[in-house]
């Protein structure tokens, strides 16, 4: 799960999954 690297998207191939990502709040423990 690394949104920074996920931003490498070709023009014209954009999908909703490239724009949003729902995450579990439990998975954020220790990160925030």
């Amino acid at each position: 799960m690394n949104p920074e690297t996920d931003n490498q998207i070709q023009q014209g191939e954009l999908a909703a999954e490239d724009l949003i990502e729902e995450v579990s709040i439990d998975g954020m423990c220790g990160v925030y």
């Binding site: 949104p3 996920d6 954009l14 909703a16 724009l19 729902e22 709040i25």
Partner: protein, 97 residues
């Protein structure tokens, strides 16, 4: 074309946006959902929704090319599914105008 593009929407009042290098984190205090907004343009769109006449206007103001509107509309529907954004009630005066 997605009908959502012609509709007025708004950020849910229960949602806080936290700026991040990749875009923003959206946290919903009601349902405790957390979503990455992975592009700054999407963050700009979400922030502008409440003031824009419709979604398409917010997309254009954020500089999103028309070819990407369907992807953004799908992403916004994803945000709507967890109440991050919601349809904006149109005031009677705004309807007449």
């Amino acid at each position: 074309m997605d009908v959502l593009l012609g509709e007025p929407w708004m950020l849910s009042p229960s949602v806080a946006l936290r700026p991040e290098p990749f875009g923003a984190l959206a946290y919903h205090f009601g349902n405790r959902k957390l979503t990455f907004l992975k592009r700054p343009e999407l963050v700009a769109v979400v922030r502008a929704l409440g003031e824009a006449a419709d979604v398409r206007t917010a997309l254009e103001a954020a500089g999103v090319p028309a070819s990407q509107h369907p992807a953004y509309a799908a992403a916004l529907r994803g945000l709507a599914a967890t109440d991050m954004i919601r349809p904006r009630p149109v005031a009677a005066a705004e309807e007449v105008a």
